[in-house]
Protein backbone atom coordinates (compact mmCIF):
# COMPACT_ATOMS: atom_id res chain seq x y z
CA UNK A 1 0.00 0.00 0.00
CA UNK A 2 1.46 3.35 -0.98
CA UNK A 3 1.72 6.05 1.64
CA UNK A 4 0.19 9.48 1.03
CA UNK A 5 2.62 11.97 -0.45
CA UNK A 6 3.61 14.48 2.18
CA UNK A 7 3.03 18.12 1.33
CA UNK A 8 3.07 21.22 3.46
CA UNK A 9 0.73 23.77 1.86
CA UNK A 10 0.64 25.77 5.09
CA UNK A 11 4.42 26.20 4.82
CA UNK A 12 4.08 27.45 1.23
CA UNK A 13 1.30 29.82 2.33
CA UNK A 14 3.39 31.12 5.23
CA UNK A 15 6.36 31.77 2.94
CA UNK A 16 4.04 33.47 0.42
CA UNK A 17 2.75 35.78 3.14
CA UNK A 18 6.28 36.43 4.41
CA UNK A 19 7.35 37.50 0.90
CA UNK A 20 4.29 39.45 -0.26
CA UNK A 21 2.87 40.52 3.13
CA UNK A 22 5.35 43.39 3.69
CA UNK A 23 3.74 45.22 0.73
CA UNK A 24 0.72 45.78 3.00
CA UNK A 25 2.69 48.48 4.81
CA UNK A 26 2.59 50.70 1.71
CA UNK A 27 -0.99 52.02 2.09
CA UNK A 28 -0.25 52.91 5.75
CA UNK A 29 3.07 54.54 4.83
CA UNK A 30 1.31 56.50 2.05
CA UNK A 31 -1.11 58.18 4.49
CA UNK A 32 1.36 58.54 7.38
CA UNK A 33 1.83 62.31 7.50
CA UNK A 34 3.82 61.89 10.70
CA UNK A 35 5.46 58.60 11.68
CA UNK A 36 8.41 59.28 13.93
CA UNK A 37 10.52 56.65 15.72
CA UNK A 38 10.03 54.76 17.94
CA UNK A 39 6.29 54.60 17.19
CA UNK A 40 5.05 51.51 15.36
CA UNK A 41 1.92 53.32 14.18
CA UNK A 42 1.73 56.76 12.53
CA UNK A 43 1.12 59.72 14.81
CA UNK A 44 -0.79 61.65 12.12
CA UNK A 45 -2.81 60.19 9.25
CA UNK A 46 -3.50 62.45 6.29
CA UNK A 47 -3.22 63.16 2.58
CA UNK A 48 0.11 65.03 2.45
CA UNK A 49 1.74 62.38 0.25
CA UNK A 50 -1.08 62.27 -2.30
CA UNK A 51 -1.28 66.07 -2.34
CA UNK A 52 2.47 66.43 -2.90
CA UNK A 53 2.31 63.98 -5.82
CA UNK A 54 -0.65 65.81 -7.38
CA UNK A 55 0.90 69.26 -6.88
CA UNK A 56 4.32 68.28 -8.21
CA UNK A 57 4.98 69.60 -11.73
CA UNK A 58 6.76 66.39 -12.81
CA UNK A 59 5.21 63.40 -11.02
CA UNK A 60 1.74 63.35 -12.73
CA UNK A 61 3.49 63.84 -16.08
CA UNK A 62 5.76 60.89 -15.29
CA UNK A 63 2.76 58.64 -14.57
CA UNK A 64 1.10 59.78 -17.81
CA UNK A 65 4.30 59.23 -19.83
CA UNK A 66 4.74 55.73 -18.42
CA UNK A 67 1.12 54.88 -19.21
CA UNK A 68 1.41 56.20 -22.78
CA UNK A 69 4.68 54.36 -23.39
CA UNK A 70 3.16 51.19 -21.92
CA UNK A 71 0.14 51.39 -24.24
CA UNK A 72 2.36 52.11 -27.24
CA UNK A 73 4.70 49.26 -26.35
CA UNK A 74 1.92 46.70 -25.98
CA UNK A 75 0.29 47.82 -29.24
CA UNK A 76 3.57 47.51 -31.16
CA UNK A 77 4.60 44.42 -29.21
CA UNK A 78 1.35 42.59 -29.94
CA UNK A 79 1.82 43.03 -33.69
CA UNK A 80 5.27 41.40 -33.40
CA UNK A 81 4.44 38.79 -30.74
CA UNK A 82 1.23 37.36 -32.26
CA UNK A 83 2.80 35.78 -35.38
CA UNK A 84 5.90 34.78 -33.40
CA UNK A 85 3.79 32.97 -30.77
CA UNK A 86 1.81 31.21 -33.51
CA UNK A 87 4.90 29.75 -35.09
CA UNK A 88 7.09 29.21 -32.00
CA UNK A 89 8.34 25.64 -31.58
CA UNK A 90 10.08 24.03 -28.55
CA UNK A 91 13.76 24.92 -28.99
CA UNK A 92 12.99 28.47 -30.16
CA UNK A 93 11.71 29.34 -26.68
CA UNK A 94 15.26 29.80 -25.36
CA UNK A 95 16.01 32.18 -28.24
CA UNK A 96 12.88 34.20 -27.43
CA UNK A 97 13.91 34.57 -23.78
CA UNK A 98 17.54 35.52 -24.52
CA UNK A 99 16.93 39.30 -24.77
CA UNK A 100 15.64 39.29 -21.18
CA UNK A 101 19.20 38.60 -20.02
CA UNK A 102 20.54 41.86 -21.45
CA UNK A 103 20.73 44.61 -18.81
CA UNK A 104 18.07 47.28 -19.52
CA UNK A 105 20.62 50.09 -19.15
CA UNK A 106 22.71 48.44 -21.89
CA UNK A 107 19.69 48.44 -24.21
CA UNK A 108 18.85 52.03 -23.28
CA UNK A 109 22.34 53.50 -23.62
CA UNK A 110 23.18 51.37 -26.68
CA UNK A 111 20.02 52.20 -28.61
CA UNK A 112 20.40 55.86 -27.73
CA UNK A 113 23.44 55.99 -30.03
CA UNK A 114 21.26 55.06 -33.03
CA UNK A 115 18.06 56.77 -31.87
CA UNK A 116 19.90 60.10 -31.66
CA UNK A 117 20.63 59.80 -35.38
CA UNK A 118 17.05 58.75 -36.16
CA UNK A 119 15.52 61.51 -34.07
CA UNK A 120 13.90 58.95 -31.73
CA UNK A 121 15.96 59.70 -28.61
CA UNK A 122 14.16 61.56 -25.80
CA UNK A 123 10.78 60.68 -27.34
CA UNK A 124 7.95 58.48 -26.07
CA UNK A 125 8.04 56.47 -29.31
CA UNK A 126 11.78 55.83 -28.90
CA UNK A 127 11.29 54.65 -25.31
CA UNK A 128 8.41 52.38 -26.38
CA UNK A 129 10.55 50.87 -29.16
CA UNK A 130 13.35 50.17 -26.67
CA UNK A 131 10.86 48.53 -24.30
CA UNK A 132 9.96 46.04 -27.06
CA UNK A 133 13.19 44.15 -26.25
CA UNK A 134 11.56 43.08 -22.96
CA UNK A 135 7.85 43.34 -23.81
CA UNK A 136 7.80 41.00 -26.82
CA UNK A 137 9.45 37.95 -25.15
CA UNK A 138 6.93 38.07 -22.30
CA UNK A 139 4.04 38.36 -24.76
CA UNK A 140 5.30 35.46 -26.87
CA UNK A 141 5.81 33.18 -23.87
CA UNK A 142 2.30 33.90 -22.54
CA UNK A 143 0.54 33.69 -25.91
CA UNK A 144 2.23 30.51 -27.16
CA UNK A 145 0.44 27.96 -24.90
CA UNK A 146 -2.91 29.43 -26.07
CA UNK A 147 -2.33 28.17 -29.63
CA UNK A 148 -3.40 24.61 -28.84
CA UNK A 149 -4.02 21.81 -31.36
CA UNK A 150 -7.69 22.03 -30.35
CA UNK A 151 -7.80 25.69 -31.44
CA UNK A 152 -6.04 24.78 -34.71
CA UNK A 153 -8.65 22.06 -35.35
CA UNK A 154 -11.51 24.50 -34.72
CA UNK A 155 -9.94 27.05 -37.09
CA UNK A 156 -9.51 24.34 -39.72
CA UNK A 157 -13.13 23.24 -39.33
CA UNK A 158 -14.36 26.84 -39.64
CA UNK A 159 -12.31 27.31 -42.81
CA UNK A 160 -13.67 24.00 -44.15
CA UNK A 161 -17.20 25.32 -43.59
CA UNK A 162 -16.43 28.32 -45.78
CA UNK A 163 -15.47 30.89 -43.16
CA UNK A 164 -13.28 33.75 -44.38
CA UNK A 165 -9.96 34.59 -42.66
CA UNK A 166 -11.65 37.46 -40.87
CA UNK A 167 -14.55 35.23 -39.73
CA UNK A 168 -12.15 32.59 -38.37
CA UNK A 169 -10.16 35.24 -36.52
CA UNK A 170 -13.26 36.96 -35.11
CA UNK A 171 -15.37 33.92 -34.26
CA UNK A 172 -12.78 31.25 -33.37
CA UNK A 173 -9.24 32.51 -32.76
CA UNK A 174 -9.86 35.66 -30.72
CA UNK A 175 -12.53 34.13 -28.41
CA UNK A 176 -10.31 31.05 -27.94
CA UNK A 177 -7.29 33.21 -27.16
CA UNK A 178 -9.12 35.77 -24.99
CA UNK A 179 -7.51 34.74 -21.68
CA UNK A 180 -3.90 34.51 -22.94
CA UNK A 181 -4.34 37.81 -24.81
CA UNK A 182 -5.65 39.56 -21.67
CA UNK A 183 -2.77 38.24 -19.55
CA UNK A 184 -0.16 38.96 -22.23
CA UNK A 185 -1.34 42.58 -22.56
CA UNK A 186 -1.46 43.09 -18.78
CA UNK A 187 1.96 41.52 -18.18
CA UNK A 188 3.53 43.34 -21.13
CA UNK A 189 2.16 46.66 -19.89
CA UNK A 190 3.60 45.87 -16.45
CA UNK A 191 6.99 45.07 -17.98
CA UNK A 192 7.06 48.35 -19.90
CA UNK A 193 5.71 50.28 -16.87
CA UNK A 194 8.60 48.91 -14.73
CA UNK A 195 11.49 49.68 -17.10
CA UNK A 196 14.16 51.82 -15.47
CA UNK A 197 17.37 51.40 -17.46
CA UNK A 198 15.88 51.52 -20.96
CA UNK A 199 13.74 54.55 -20.07
CA UNK A 200 16.77 56.34 -18.60
CA UNK A 201 19.03 55.59 -21.57
CA UNK A 202 16.68 56.34 -24.46
CA UNK A 203 14.36 58.75 -22.69
CA UNK A 204 17.11 61.07 -21.48
CA UNK A 205 15.29 63.72 -19.51
CA UNK A 206 11.75 62.40 -20.07
CA UNK A 207 10.04 61.92 -16.71
CA UNK A 208 8.89 58.30 -16.29
CA UNK A 209 7.41 56.71 -13.17
CA UNK A 210 10.36 54.46 -12.16
CA UNK A 211 12.85 57.28 -12.80
CA UNK A 212 11.05 59.76 -10.57
CA UNK A 213 10.44 57.16 -7.84
CA UNK A 214 14.10 56.25 -7.13
CA UNK A 215 15.14 59.58 -5.52
CA UNK A 216 12.18 59.41 -3.09
CA UNK A 217 12.87 55.86 -1.84
CA UNK A 218 15.30 56.99 0.83
CA UNK A 219 14.54 60.72 1.00
CA UNK A 220 10.74 60.77 1.41
CA UNK A 221 9.20 57.36 2.13
CA UNK A 222 5.65 58.74 2.14
CA UNK A 223 5.82 60.02 -1.44
CA UNK A 224 7.68 56.83 -2.41
CA UNK A 225 4.80 54.79 -0.95
CA UNK A 226 2.18 56.80 -2.89
CA UNK A 227 4.15 56.24 -6.11
CA UNK A 228 4.62 52.56 -5.18
CA UNK A 229 0.85 52.15 -4.92
CA UNK A 230 0.38 53.70 -8.37
CA UNK A 231 3.21 51.46 -9.58
CA UNK A 232 1.39 48.39 -8.22
CA UNK A 233 -1.86 48.89 -10.16
CA UNK A 234 -0.88 47.15 -13.45
CA UNK A 235 0.81 44.19 -11.67
CA UNK A 236 -2.39 43.73 -9.62
CA UNK A 237 -4.46 43.66 -12.81
CA UNK A 238 -2.06 41.07 -14.29
CA UNK A 239 -2.20 38.94 -11.15
CA UNK A 240 -6.01 39.11 -11.03
CA UNK A 241 -6.28 38.01 -14.67
CA UNK A 242 -3.82 35.16 -14.04
CA UNK A 243 -5.74 33.88 -11.00
CA UNK A 244 -9.20 34.26 -12.55
CA UNK A 245 -8.21 32.52 -15.79
CA UNK A 246 -6.00 29.92 -14.05
CA UNK A 247 -2.92 30.83 -16.09
CA UNK A 248 0.71 30.92 -15.03
CA UNK A 249 2.46 34.28 -14.88
Amino acid sequence: MSRRRRSFPWFAGAVGFLLAGPLLVLPIRAVADEWRAPALWPQVIGGRGVQRVLDDPILPQAVLNSALVGLLAIALGFVVAWPAARTLRGSSAAFVLAPLLIPPLVVGEGLQVWFLRLGLADSLLGVALAHLVYVVPYMVIILTPGFTTELARQEEAARGLGGSKWDVLRLITLPGMASPIALALAMAFTVSWSQYGTSLGVGGGLPMLPLVLVPFVRSDPQIAAVLDLIFLLPPLVALTIAVRTDQRL
Binding site: S2, R5, S7, F8, P9, F11, A12, G13, V15, G16, L19, L23, V25, L26, A37, A39, L40, V80, A84, S92, F95, L97, A98, P99, L100, I102, P103, L105, V106, E109, G110, L111, Q112, V113, W114, L132, V133, V136, P137, V140, M187, T190, W193, S194, Y196, G197, L200, P210, V217, R218, P221, A224, D228, F231, P234, P235, A242, V243, R248, L249
Partner: protein, 255 residues
Protein backbone atom coordinates in the same frame (compact mmCIF):
# COMPACT_ATOMS: atom_id res chain seq x y z
CA UNK B 1 11.54 38.17 -33.22
CA UNK B 2 14.08 39.45 -35.72
CA UNK B 3 13.10 42.95 -34.59
CA UNK B 4 13.82 42.13 -30.94
CA UNK B 5 17.11 40.38 -31.76
CA UNK B 6 18.02 43.27 -34.05
CA UNK B 7 17.31 45.87 -31.36
CA UNK B 8 19.40 43.89 -28.84
CA UNK B 9 22.34 43.55 -31.23
CA UNK B 10 22.02 47.20 -32.28
CA UNK B 11 22.17 48.22 -28.61
CA UNK B 12 25.38 46.28 -28.00
CA UNK B 13 26.89 47.53 -31.26
CA UNK B 14 25.95 51.08 -30.25
CA UNK B 15 27.75 50.68 -26.93
CA UNK B 16 30.89 49.28 -28.56
CA UNK B 17 30.83 52.06 -31.10
CA UNK B 18 30.50 54.69 -28.39
CA UNK B 19 33.30 53.11 -26.32
CA UNK B 20 35.70 53.05 -29.29
CA UNK B 21 34.62 56.25 -31.03
CA UNK B 22 33.69 58.71 -28.30
CA UNK B 23 32.49 61.28 -30.84
CA UNK B 24 30.73 58.73 -33.05
CA UNK B 25 27.54 60.75 -33.34
CA UNK B 26 29.43 63.51 -35.10
CA UNK B 27 32.08 61.15 -36.56
CA UNK B 28 35.01 60.81 -34.17
CA UNK B 29 38.27 58.83 -34.54
CA UNK B 30 38.77 55.33 -33.16
CA UNK B 31 40.46 55.14 -29.77
CA UNK B 32 40.88 52.60 -26.99
CA UNK B 33 41.48 55.33 -24.38
CA UNK B 34 38.12 54.75 -22.69
CA UNK B 35 38.81 51.02 -22.30
CA UNK B 36 42.26 51.71 -20.82
CA UNK B 37 40.88 54.38 -18.50
CA UNK B 38 38.06 52.20 -17.15
CA UNK B 39 40.11 49.00 -16.85
CA UNK B 40 42.74 50.91 -14.87
CA UNK B 41 40.14 52.37 -12.50
CA UNK B 42 40.01 50.75 -9.04
CA UNK B 43 36.43 51.95 -8.57
CA UNK B 44 35.41 49.92 -11.63
CA UNK B 45 36.97 46.72 -10.25
CA UNK B 46 35.32 47.40 -6.88
CA UNK B 47 32.00 47.58 -8.73
CA UNK B 48 32.75 44.27 -10.50
CA UNK B 49 33.51 42.57 -7.17
CA UNK B 50 30.40 44.10 -5.55
CA UNK B 51 28.14 42.99 -8.40
CA UNK B 52 29.51 39.48 -8.83
CA UNK B 53 29.49 38.88 -5.07
CA UNK B 54 25.80 39.89 -4.88
CA UNK B 55 24.96 37.62 -7.84
CA UNK B 56 27.00 34.69 -6.50
CA UNK B 57 25.31 34.90 -3.10
CA UNK B 58 21.73 35.76 -4.15
CA UNK B 59 21.43 33.20 -6.96
CA UNK B 60 22.34 29.92 -5.18
CA UNK B 61 20.60 31.06 -2.01
CA UNK B 62 17.39 31.76 -3.94
CA UNK B 63 17.62 28.30 -5.57
CA UNK B 64 18.28 26.56 -2.23
CA UNK B 65 15.26 28.25 -0.66
CA UNK B 66 12.98 27.85 -3.69
CA UNK B 67 13.32 24.04 -3.93
CA UNK B 68 11.80 23.10 -0.55
CA UNK B 69 9.18 25.86 -0.89
CA UNK B 70 8.25 24.58 -4.37
CA UNK B 71 8.06 20.99 -3.10
CA UNK B 72 5.83 22.12 -0.22
CA UNK B 73 3.60 24.05 -2.64
CA UNK B 74 2.67 20.89 -4.57
CA UNK B 75 -0.42 20.25 -2.48
CA UNK B 76 -1.31 23.90 -2.00
CA UNK B 77 -4.61 25.47 -3.08
CA UNK B 78 -4.69 27.83 -6.10
CA UNK B 79 -4.99 30.78 -3.71
CA UNK B 80 -1.90 29.73 -1.75
CA UNK B 81 0.02 29.36 -5.01
CA UNK B 82 -1.26 32.77 -6.12
CA UNK B 83 0.02 34.27 -2.84
CA UNK B 84 3.34 32.51 -3.29
CA UNK B 85 3.80 33.85 -6.82
CA UNK B 86 2.17 37.25 -6.20
CA UNK B 87 5.49 39.08 -6.33
CA UNK B 88 6.37 37.89 -9.84
CA UNK B 89 4.68 40.80 -11.66
CA UNK B 90 5.63 43.32 -8.96
CA UNK B 91 8.42 45.66 -10.14
CA UNK B 92 11.84 45.25 -8.49
CA UNK B 93 11.72 48.91 -7.54
CA UNK B 94 8.53 48.49 -5.49
CA UNK B 95 10.11 45.54 -3.64
CA UNK B 96 13.24 47.64 -3.02
CA UNK B 97 11.15 50.58 -1.80
CA UNK B 98 9.14 48.31 0.54
CA UNK B 99 12.37 46.79 1.84
CA UNK B 100 13.58 50.28 2.77
CA UNK B 101 10.31 50.91 4.64
CA UNK B 102 10.95 47.79 6.74
CA UNK B 103 14.75 47.62 6.96
CA UNK B 104 15.84 51.24 6.50
CA UNK B 105 17.57 53.16 9.29
CA UNK B 106 14.92 54.27 11.80
CA UNK B 107 12.23 52.26 10.00
CA UNK B 108 9.95 49.51 11.31
CA UNK B 109 12.38 46.66 12.04
CA UNK B 110 14.91 49.13 13.41
CA UNK B 111 12.23 50.37 15.85
CA UNK B 112 11.31 46.82 16.86
CA UNK B 113 14.70 45.14 17.11
CA UNK B 114 17.30 47.91 17.00
CA UNK B 115 19.63 48.57 14.08
CA UNK B 116 19.25 46.29 11.06
CA UNK B 117 22.07 47.77 8.94
CA UNK B 118 21.42 46.30 5.53
CA UNK B 119 20.19 49.28 3.52
CA UNK B 120 23.17 50.98 1.94
CA UNK B 121 25.75 48.61 3.46
CA UNK B 122 29.00 48.19 1.55
CA UNK B 123 28.66 44.42 1.26
CA UNK B 124 25.36 44.70 -0.62
CA UNK B 125 23.11 42.85 1.84
CA UNK B 126 20.18 45.09 0.89
CA UNK B 127 20.60 44.27 -2.80
CA UNK B 128 20.89 40.54 -2.01
CA UNK B 129 17.77 40.65 0.19
CA UNK B 130 15.69 42.42 -2.48
CA UNK B 131 16.71 39.81 -5.07
CA UNK B 132 15.91 36.94 -2.71
CA UNK B 133 12.44 38.36 -2.03
CA UNK B 134 11.80 39.04 -5.70
CA UNK B 135 13.30 35.94 -7.34
CA UNK B 136 12.30 33.14 -4.95
CA UNK B 137 8.66 33.25 -6.24
CA UNK B 138 9.92 33.03 -9.85
CA UNK B 139 12.09 29.99 -9.02
CA UNK B 140 9.26 28.40 -7.00
CA UNK B 141 7.06 28.69 -10.08
CA UNK B 142 9.69 26.79 -12.10
CA UNK B 143 9.97 24.11 -9.40
CA UNK B 144 6.19 23.64 -9.22
CA UNK B 145 6.00 23.38 -13.03
CA UNK B 146 8.83 20.81 -13.09
CA UNK B 147 7.18 18.68 -10.41
CA UNK B 148 4.39 17.72 -12.79
CA UNK B 149 2.27 14.57 -12.75
CA UNK B 150 4.95 12.53 -14.53
CA UNK B 151 7.55 13.42 -11.89
CA UNK B 152 5.08 12.56 -9.14
CA UNK B 153 4.43 9.16 -10.74
CA UNK B 154 8.18 8.46 -10.88
CA UNK B 155 8.48 9.53 -7.26
CA UNK B 156 5.62 7.20 -6.25
CA UNK B 157 7.23 4.36 -8.23
CA UNK B 158 10.56 4.97 -6.49
CA UNK B 159 8.86 4.88 -3.12
CA UNK B 160 7.01 1.71 -4.08
CA UNK B 161 10.34 0.10 -4.92
CA UNK B 162 11.66 0.99 -1.48
CA UNK B 163 13.87 3.97 -2.37
CA UNK B 164 14.66 6.29 0.54
CA UNK B 165 13.72 10.02 0.34
CA UNK B 166 17.40 10.82 -0.27
CA UNK B 167 17.61 8.43 -3.21
CA UNK B 168 14.39 9.77 -4.68
CA UNK B 169 15.59 13.35 -4.22
CA UNK B 170 18.95 12.58 -5.84
CA UNK B 171 17.87 10.32 -8.67
CA UNK B 172 14.33 11.51 -9.48
CA UNK B 173 13.57 15.04 -8.28
CA UNK B 174 16.91 16.82 -8.75
CA UNK B 175 17.47 15.55 -12.34
CA UNK B 176 13.95 16.77 -13.22
CA UNK B 177 14.65 20.15 -11.59
CA UNK B 178 18.15 20.64 -13.01
CA UNK B 179 17.19 22.18 -16.36
CA UNK B 180 14.49 24.63 -15.19
CA UNK B 181 16.56 25.67 -12.19
CA UNK B 182 19.66 26.03 -14.39
CA UNK B 183 17.79 28.39 -16.73
CA UNK B 184 16.18 30.14 -13.75
CA UNK B 185 19.56 30.65 -12.07
CA UNK B 186 20.97 32.19 -15.22
CA UNK B 187 18.03 34.60 -15.41
CA UNK B 188 18.36 35.54 -11.72
CA UNK B 189 22.13 36.05 -12.00
CA UNK B 190 21.65 38.19 -15.12
CA UNK B 191 19.00 40.27 -13.35
CA UNK B 192 21.27 40.88 -10.34
CA UNK B 193 24.27 41.77 -12.50
CA UNK B 194 22.30 44.00 -14.88
CA UNK B 195 20.04 45.78 -12.43
CA UNK B 196 20.35 49.53 -11.95
CA UNK B 197 17.35 50.63 -9.90
CA UNK B 198 17.82 48.13 -7.05
CA UNK B 199 21.41 49.14 -6.18
CA UNK B 200 20.39 52.79 -6.57
CA UNK B 201 17.50 52.30 -4.12
CA UNK B 202 19.04 50.01 -1.50
CA UNK B 203 22.76 49.76 -2.34
CA UNK B 204 25.67 51.74 -0.95
CA UNK B 205 26.99 54.99 -2.40
CA UNK B 206 30.43 53.33 -2.62
CA UNK B 207 31.15 50.85 -4.13
CA UNK B 208 28.91 51.14 -7.16
CA UNK B 209 27.39 48.17 -8.92
CA UNK B 210 28.61 47.73 -12.51
CA UNK B 211 25.63 49.55 -13.99
CA UNK B 212 25.52 52.34 -11.39
CA UNK B 213 29.27 52.82 -12.04
CA UNK B 214 28.27 53.58 -15.64
CA UNK B 215 25.89 56.27 -14.37
CA UNK B 216 28.39 57.64 -11.86
CA UNK B 217 31.10 58.18 -14.49
CA UNK B 218 28.59 59.95 -16.71
CA UNK B 219 27.91 62.33 -13.85
CA UNK B 220 31.48 63.08 -12.79
CA UNK B 221 33.82 62.72 -15.77
CA UNK B 222 32.60 65.39 -18.16
CA UNK B 223 33.17 65.03 -21.93
CA UNK B 224 34.71 61.53 -21.85
CA UNK B 225 31.90 60.21 -19.67
CA UNK B 226 29.73 58.56 -22.33
CA UNK B 227 32.62 56.46 -23.66
CA UNK B 228 33.67 55.32 -20.17
CA UNK B 229 30.07 54.52 -19.31
CA UNK B 230 29.74 52.49 -22.52
CA UNK B 231 32.85 50.47 -21.59
CA UNK B 232 31.40 49.58 -18.17
CA UNK B 233 28.10 48.52 -19.74
CA UNK B 234 29.84 46.52 -22.49
CA UNK B 235 31.83 44.63 -19.84
CA UNK B 236 28.58 43.98 -17.90
CA UNK B 237 27.04 42.47 -21.04
CA UNK B 238 30.15 40.37 -21.71
CA UNK B 239 30.04 39.00 -18.14
CA UNK B 240 26.41 37.93 -18.63
CA UNK B 241 27.25 36.49 -22.06
CA UNK B 242 30.08 34.49 -20.48
CA UNK B 243 27.70 33.18 -17.80
CA UNK B 244 25.27 32.14 -20.54
CA UNK B 245 27.99 30.29 -22.44
CA UNK B 246 29.16 28.49 -19.27
CA UNK B 247 25.53 27.50 -18.51
CA UNK B 248 25.08 26.26 -22.08
CA UNK B 249 28.29 24.18 -21.95
CA UNK B 250 27.36 22.65 -18.58
CA UNK B 251 23.83 21.95 -19.85
CA UNK B 252 25.14 20.25 -23.02
CA UNK B 253 27.59 18.07 -21.05
CA UNK B 254 24.90 16.97 -18.60
CA UNK B 255 22.42 16.12 -21.34
Amino acid sequence: MILVGGLSLAAFAGLLSRSLRPGAIVGGAYSTDAWRRVLADDAFWDSVIFTLRAALIATPLAVLLAVPIGVAARGASPWTRALLTALIPVPHLVVASTTVTWFGPGQLLDRLFGTVPIIGDRFGLGVILVYLIKEIPFLVLLVVAALDRETQKLDEAGRGLGASWWHRLRHILLPRLALPLGIGSLVVAAFVIGSTEVPLAVGPVVPDSMTTYALTVQRIRGPVARADSAVALAVTTLVILLLGIVALVIGRRRS
